[in-house]
Symmetry: C2
Subunit: 684 residues, 2 copies
């Protein structure tokens, strides 16, 4: 080979650069520049500092690595392959191709292992890192004992200029500084280039000063992202920090080594081009052929990482064995939590839960939360500054605050988006059961994080209260309308809107038990009646998503009233009135479309028999999507407008959520010839 | 009266405090504490500094006032009433009641005048203020001439601790600092209390330092929010600043004057209670009866504001008259823009637009944008750092940057949410036509702002490109699935997904012409064929939301294929294949559900005749909601899963967007007995 003499470091670094350039070129799609600029840092971190074992990517005490700049995926794939994870060079050659293990952006759970989180939407990875660092501190506080440190790892994040601009990262950084998460180390890859050009076009703030304002330990800017010694020293300083998260600012050069693309916006998101790849190889003293060339000495050097990882894990295992010998019960609990299992009998108190009467479902939630909290010692969550309203506090179990990491209730501040990202990070870290609350309307602020939880199928629980115009006086800015439809449209997310305290208890049990995919509980602010279960189906039927709550005795239903949440009691009352008028009416409580859709067809048609076309949906929200269950001959009572400020019961009444209005919709349908309903829609 | 002697200032200030406490108490709902803490600042600003005329709230050169802390609405309502806006004391007594002019949070357009923007969701008002300041600088640069300054006003924002925590405010602050919006003056009401308690629980950053890092002029913290002299001095210093936006930090006391609630979280969101209201009145030397007491001297003093405003506007009018005399054409243009009118013939070039062939609709958009830009001199917008991808640049018309405020293209940076909030502020300010672009997937990041644009019915235009899995390699993190459904569910938002370049041109024309309510254009990344208009309906039919694009000649349709955007050509091809098999097929292009819903029933049933129940919807997105048009006997070809990373055409093919798959769905429907279709749903 005509490879010039390089020192080994440089050889290893350029291997990443050229794998990245080649992969993007072959795919004719992708982001070559950032991996090329970050190659020295990636090499240094993964071979010298990151505590990981490529042979066991699931080692619980490994350091977490988050590539928040997910577009630089080839950096991560290069490192995974080179250090010996289960990712072949063949897969790198299939970058961005159908069913390859190397998708355009890193996908957790898609690559078999080694990708800690799915990134790409900027800022999310940063917030995930904060969540991981929270989980680490929590578990360390719960499980470490004097002389026994079994949870003790760092979370490393690589963030880009774009990450730094996103609000979610600002929120998460403020939270991390507040919580003094000293095991969090973030690299800010300051390459000064964004898609539109120089960062001077849109971003001239002093990031160092900003992070100091958040209470971070800021190191740098290091002027040269190729200076391994300086970066080593910075990482050591960050590791030695004991009170603050660290930000290491590194000035890198996007497309480093490309004679005509380095430091250009083109290097961000376009292949270099065949000719420029060749020129880059020449410039870096790299053989121009073959593509995807990996020098043996480089690979051999990288692969030593596995040996280092094995040793590190073995050391940890010895520590853990000593810990297990000293406290076998605690060790078992730890193992159970790491596996994501729930303890025996964790829900026994819920099963005994006897609500006393009319109550807001948020209050019922607060009660069942606190019935289960003592038995779920890794349940950790809170609210984005709405705890008294969301009822998300685990009473008597402490606040999670700097220096009080054993506390169970988090105070996220008015930072919904960071909460969403941090919850994802906590779930990804494992060992904890995370939940977070805000008003349903503010789920809008964290939508991008909810989507990523759904994409990764993370067991995150959302507590969204104040779920309709029924919240009243706060008015249309706070009254959700389209949020239910929006959440229901997200694949893999289970939305549950319970109809009373008993359904709420079942919903919470189901949410905690569920270990795959996020669950959103949609809860009322206002008191709603307790369904009389002596006269109707039991609340555990909620598990099926929809069920027949009541029907006219001894007669086949002529009409079905389908309702969710606070509107179910309205359906029950309307059905009673219609029965008095001689009609046979079925009431279906439908707390969760997603759970219902997972039932067999036989069950679904039993609940909603196709021959009964006189159907009315009742939900104080947009009717968007309800045609699915109502069909072309039914009616929908909902809200295709924004709400209004007034006491909740007034708004409900004025906007049509009354028995009278249900009757007004029902009577024409009952009188219409079968199957020839008006298909009317309430657009009140 | 047993009112103790007060100086007039104190009397005026306490009037706000007690009106607020009384109104919240009477409503038994609301936020008394913040208005009580902010009363001195509100009084000072509105009577001494704010350039406004209560008798003409629409005076174009007025200062803008934004209460970002919207929960403190009683501060604003008190000031509106006291200074003589069209808001009576009776309305204040009806605070938070049905159809009152004093809803829970300030609603722009609801109160007749004086409420510049709808606030409540935190951080939004702050970003609105940044947008208003952008519009002011833009119009000043365009219209002011040496010796003639007709656009010269400040934007004042009052922000809370919660605003400071929200990511959107961080983004907007960074942008404002970058743009050096020196006419923006923000007060940070540091009352150190949030809903969960002391800000120490979640928020201990150094806000002063953070804003300095953004490039702001930070004044304070002023230790005493009751010290009028100190606040006056601070405002004067901020007004004198010529290079940076200003943040004035004021330490206030929530619930000031309430002996038992001051400085408590309870004072934030609960009525004080009758007894505590009484104690507060006593403590402040206020008569305990009657409620809603307004001392004559205070009212008289406040009402002088109108006289001051009249003088200020008259001065401005003289300047404007001189300006109009010197340059009548420019004056006329300015008047036209302030009215929101479009110039004669602005769209003449679009009408002539002849696309050359297959093109991405984002590229077609870029072309029509640049055809219209020269004739729309107040069209201003840009992208959240995706301009080359969104094609949002107005070529040759300059960048809007610090010191270059005449530029037409904004660089929002990777700050989607701030972009959304700023666009709202620009539209609210008036005089400009604002638009903003990002990938459709990142509409999630700005959802809360889009909703507020819809709630306020603002003429904001969104350019959302990369609208489906057709974007290809970037993979599921970037491929929208549920975004279309989510946007369609928002009341008042018009979503348009054009099928080719010709529909795109019509869509842009419609978006610019529309002056009420936001419009979202949903555009492809990938090239799509040009519809052969010689063989089908003209593209201006897009205005009706859906139209018959083609059908089997001379025969009544047996089947309707309904498609949007990039899937329309698939429907056309499938229809041709089905015709060859002997079927009579209609193709409906349905770019906009909302526009279609606004058509008369006669038109809608003409396009989608009820008797044709064999219908298939084709859209590369969630099928959520499509039952509305497909009915119970049709089929939906869509995506109820996340996408995948691979070249766009591969992903499209693998996930079912092929002629073959449409045929596979169509044939059983054509063969089924009429009205007894399978009701199948494609969950590919």
């Amino acid at each position: 080979m005509d490879l010039k003499e390089h020192d080994l470091d440089q050889l290893c670094i350029n291997t990443i650069r050229m794998l990245s350039a080649d992969a993007v070129q072959k795919a004719n799609s992708g982001h070559p520049g950032t991996p090329m600029g970050l190659a020295p840092l990636g090499y240094l971190l993964w071979t010298q500092f990151l505590k990981h074992n490529p042979n066991n990517p699931h080692w619980p005490d490994r350091d977490r690595f988050v590539l928040s700049a997910g577009h630089a995926s080839m950096l991560l794939y290069s490192l995974l392959y080179l250090t010996g994870y289960d990712l072949s060079l063949e897969e790198i050659k299939r970058f961005r191709q159908w069913e390859s293990k190397t998708p355009g952006h890193p996908e957790q759970g898609h690559v078999p292992s080694g990708v800690e989180t799915t990134t790409g939407p900027l800022g999310q990875g940063f917030a995930n890192g904060v969540g991981m660092a929270i989980a680490e501190r929590f578990l360390a506080a719960h499980f470490n004992r004097p002389g026994h440190s079994i949870v003790d790892h760092h979370t490393y994040v690589i963030a880009s200029d774009g990450d730094m601009m996103e609000g979610i990262a600002s929120e998460a950084a403020s939270l991390a500084g507040h919580l003094q998460l000293e095991k969090l180390i973030c690299f800010y890859d300051a390459n000064q280039i964004t898609i539109e050009g120089s960062t001077d076009l849109a971003f001239r703030e002093d990031v160092k000063k900003r992070f100091e304002a958040y209470g971070w330990n800021v190191i740098g800017p290091l002027p040269d992202g190729n200076n391994l010694a300086a970066m080593s020293k910075a990482i050591q300083a960050a590791q030695a920090e004991t009170e603050r998260p660290s930000l290491i600012i590194v000035r890198t050069h996007i497309g480093y080594g490309s004679p005509n693309r380095q430091d250009s916006a083109q290097a961000h998101g376009e292949p270099l081009g065949e000719e420029e790849v060749r020129l880059t190889k020449e410039h870096l003293g790299w053989p121009t052929e073959p593509d995807f060339y990996v020098p043996e000495p480089a690979l051999a050097h990288y692969r030593k990482t596995a040996g280092r990882g094995e040793r590190l894990e073995a050391e940890w295992q010895r520590r853990f064995d000593a810990y297990a010998a000293a406290d076998p019960d605690l060790a078992k609990e730890w193992q159970r939590m790491v596996k994501g299992e729930r303890p025996e009998g964790w829900d026994s108190e819920i099963k005994k839960y006897q609500p006393k009467g009319a109550t807001a479902t948020r209050r019922a939630f607060g009660e069942v939360l606190n019935l289960t909290a003592p038995r779920l010692s890794n349940l950790i969550g809170g609210s984005a500054d709405l705890a008294p309203s969301n009822d998300t506090t685990q009473k008597g179990l402490g606040d999670f605050l700097a220096g009080h990491y054993e506390g169970r209730t988090l105070h996220f501040g008015v930072r919904e988006h960071a909460m969403g990202g941090a919850l994802n990070g906590m779930a990804l870290h494992g060992g904890v059961i995370p939940y977070g609350g805000t008003f349903l309307i503010f789920s809008d602020y964290m939508k991008a994080s909810i989507r990523l939880a759904a994409l990764m199928e993370l067991p995150v629980i959302y507590i969204f209260t104040h779920d309709s115009i029924g919240l009243g006086e706060d008015g249309p800015t706070h009254q959700p309308i389209e949020q239910l439809a929006g959440l229901r449209a997200i694949p893999n997310l289970t939305v549950i809107r319970p109809a009373d305290a008993t359904e709420t208890a079942t919903a919470w049990r189901l949410a905690v038990a569920r270990r795959k995919g996020p669950v959103a509980l949609i809860l009322t602010r206002q008191k709603i009646p307790l369904i009389d279960r002596s006269r109707s189906a039991p609340a555990d039927q909620l598990e099926k998503g929809a069920y027949v709550l009541s029907e006219t005795e001894g007669r086949a239903a002529e009409m079905i009233l389908i309702a969710t949440g606070s509107e179910v009691h309205l359906a029950v009352e309307a059905a009673q009135a219609l029965e008095k008028e001689g009609a046979a009416v079925r009431v279906v409580s439908m707390p969760s479309w997603e759970l219902f859709e997972r039932q067999p067809v036989s069950y679904r048609t039993a609940v909603l028999p196709p021959e009964v076309t006189a159907r009315i949906s009742i939900e104080a929200a947009s009717t968007f999507g309800w045609e699915r269950y109502v069909g072309g001959s039914g009616a929908m009572i909902g809200l295709n407008r924004f709400g209004a400020s007034a006491p909740g019961e007034v708004v409900m009444r004025e906007l049509g959520f009354t028995v009278e209005n249900v009757l007004a919709h029902a009577r024409p349908l009952l009188n219409a010839p079968s199957g020839a309903g008006a298909g009317r829609r309430k657009g009140s």
